[in-house]
């Protein structure tokens, strides 16, 4: 097997006495999609944020061999700036040479409004698509998505997955957190199930059905 694009080794996160994530390993390889599954508060978002470099682990290390894109659970952009301005701003920070061009391409790809309307005034679906679009700046090979389709209608959901699948088709790796069991069956190659901050299952998606009842009750 080739080297993983992202390797998290024994990463853990504590908030005072509370253990949000027990020491956990996570590896993402080229061309695969991994689903992080678990109930609310299981530690999925924490693990993704640590893997994305958005959260410092209390212990453990993260090694990345490729550029990583991150879609946080809550849309993370400046509400008073338009979708284009947000895309251009983060493109500049990512060091994208043609920030304006990259913004235009992503606006079209995600069918986002190009006008100067503040992104805070966009619909929930548009804001979530902007959230996903921002993660694609800098052409990452690895995409970490935290419940990316939770607030999207079926059409918007399909459009997001088309973009994500294209990235995987180009040899990238996808890891997404979800509570949607159907998405696991449709999208994932491997599944990591978290409960109370600990991995309770890690294996092929086909094996998830056996633990699904235990996890979600």
């Amino acid at each position: 097997m080739s080297e993983p694009l992202v390797r998290a080794l024994q990463v853990a996160r504590r908030y005072g006495d509370i253990e949000a994530l027990a020491p956990t390993d996570l590896e993402l390889f080229e061309g695969e999609t991994v689903a992080l599954v678990g109930p609310n508060g299981a530690g999925k978002s924490t693990l993704l944020a640590i893997a994305a470099g958005a959260l410092e682990p209390s212990q453990g290390t993260v090694e990345s061999q490729a550029r990583v894109g991150w879609v946080p659970q809550r849309p993370a952009h400046y509400a008073r700036l338009s979708a284009r301005e947000n895309l251009e701003l983060f493109a500049r920070l990512e060091g994208v040479p043609d920030a304006a061009g990259a913004a235009t391409r992503l606006l079209e790809r995600f069918a986002l409004p190009a006008e100067a309307r503040p992104s805070g005034d966009l619909s929930v679906g548009n804001r979530q698509r902007l959230n996903v679009a921002l993660s694609l700046l800098g052409d990452p090979r690895v995409l970490l998505l935290d419940e990316p389709t939770a607030s999207l209608d079926p059409g918007q959901r399909r459009r997001v997955w088309e973009v994500v699948d294209a990235l995987r088709g180009d040899g990238g790796a996808i890891c997404f957190a979800t509570q949607n069991v159907e998405e696991v069956g449709e999208r994932a190659d491997r599944v990591v199930v978290l409960q109370d901050g600990r991995v309770v299952f890690a294996g092929p998606a086909s094996g998830f059905a056996a633990v699904e009842q235990d996890v979600f009750g």
Binding site: Y15, A52, G53, L55, P72, P75, A76, L93, L134
Partner: protein, 442 residues
């Protein structure tokens, strides 16, 4: 530096998109400058003083054979205060209503005492409780001092006429009584007619000594009338007028208040909008976020400080305030407000990161700014602990910086010391803010 510049431009754009906040930021310096200008104008304007003449003073009065133009003296006073003639009743009413700052009364018998020199004439000064009353008192004391200096020449001349009478004899009068004196000269002549004897010799010796002694009386009288005189050499440079202090405090207060509020809000907003997670993924370090927010506070501080200084300058120029606006010093002031804005910004970032939420951060900033300002106002002698605490906060240094930049003849040493303090304070709070941002992102 590039990341700092990108985040700064973003923050300025976001600021520009907040119409209410932008309106407040534009209105704030104008209102502050107008208020400061009005206070400074009031402080240096001529106080209105009621002049009550119960003795019906003539325009010219004769003292000791010399003529004094009383109207000229009154005109002299009017250069410092606006004297308004009114009746005792009106004067009392206007003083109680605060329409005049003080009343100066010439009581009945004043002129008689002045002319006859039987006793010292008195003027009666009554002041209100307003802020200008102490100044009026000082001006009236100065007036009486100057008046006495002019009158004493007349009094000395009058006294010397009596000495002259004693020396040389002749007709004279005192308190309406007329007399004819023999004088020492006459006494000496009469003594010469007496047969020589031991007793006549003693009297003749006394007359000779008395004549020599009294001949020196003029010089002695003048010397004892002015044992000490105060002379003030003219100095060059700017005057530390009240308007300067008010302006320094006005700008320091405004920049401190708004820079703290903005930086705290801007730092906490990164958490509110969820963007701090995106930024910290290798795009912008926590240190760069502190720099960016401090730079935002510095830029806004510069804008506010400049606006206040310019509007204030226009107000004082139009009002003809003593001291005026030192326009040439404004570039130096702008350096100061930028520095202070940045340093206060670092304190604001710390507050924003600790508050973790923009609204809480704004409230916290408001709560913190007042003690910070008041600590800076406590004099060292009043409460030593407050003074020492204020040394480690930016406000007191900001006031000193602005005051020196605006009006000190040679400000460089003060500016260097205060700059070092401010940079040190900024670095300490910047490091604390960086640590707090790390916790905020967790």
């Amino acid at each position: 530096m590039r990341a700092v510049s990108i985040v700064l431009r973003k923050d300025l754009r976001v600021l520009g998109r907040s119409p209410l906040l932008l309106g407040a930021l534009l209105a704030y310096p104008i209102v502050i400058a107008l208020l400061v200008g009005l206070i400074a104008g009031y402080a240096s304007s001529k106080p209105r003083v009621a002049f009550v003449d119960e003795d019906h003073l003539p325009q010219v009065v004769s003292v000791g054979g010399r003529r004094f133009h009383l109207q000229a003296v009154i005109d002299d006073v009017a250069k410092q205060v606006t004297l308004v003639r009114m009746s005792p009743k009106d004067a009392a009413r206007e003083l109680s209503q605060g329409k005049v700052v003080a009343t100066i009364t010439v009581p009945r018998g004043f002129l008689g005492n002045l002319e006859t020199m039987a006793s010292s004439p008195s003027l009666v000064l009554r002041t209100g409780s307003g802020g200008l009353a102490p100044r009026v008192t000082q001006q009236m004391q100065s007036l009486v001092y100057q008046l006495n200096q002019k009158l004493q020449a007349g009094y000395i001349a009058a006294n010397l006429r009596f000495v002259d009478l004693i020396l040389h004899g002749g007709p004279g009068s005192f308190l309406g009584r007329h007399f004819d004196l023999l004088g020492l000269d006459g006494t000496q002549r009469e003594l010469a007619k007496l047969p020589p004897s031991k007793r006549v010799a003693v009297i003749r010796h006394f007359v000779e000594v008395a004549r020599v002694g009294l001949a020196q009386t003029g010089t002695a009288l003048r010397a004892t009338a002015n044992p000490i005189t105060l002379t003030q050499p003219k100095t060059h440079g700017r005057t530390w007028v009240l308007s300067a202090q008010v302006q320094a405090y006005g700008i320091a207060l405004t920049v401190t208040f708004l820079a703290l509020l903005l930086a705290a809000g801007a730092a906490a907003a990164e958490k509110d909008e969820g963007t701090i997670g995106r930024l910290r993924r290798g795009l912008v370090s926590f240190g760069q976020i502190v720099w960016a927010k401090s730079a935002l506070a510095a830029v806004v501080g510069l804008g506010l400080g400049a606006a206040i200084a310019i509007v204030f300058g226009l107000v004082v120029e139009i009002g003809g305030v003593n001291g005026g606006e030192p326009w040439a010093r404004l570039p130096l002031l702008f350096v100061g407000v930028t520095l202070v804005g940045g340093v206060v910004g670092a304190v604001g970032v710390l507050l924003g990161a600790l508050a973790r939420e923009a609204r809480t951060a704004s409230l916290l900033a408001v709560l913190v700014v007042l003690p910070v300002v008041f600590l800076g106002l406590v004099p060292r002698g009043a409460f030593a602990l407050a003074y020492w605490v204020s040394l480690f906060l930016p406000f007191a240094h900001a006031v000193t910086w602005f005051g020196a930049a605006l009006y000190d003849t040679s400000p460089w040493r003060t500016l260097a010391v205060e700059t070092l303090w401010l940079v040190g304070i900024g670095l300490v709070f910047g490091l604390l803010a960086r640590g707090a941002l790390r916790r905020l992102a967790a």
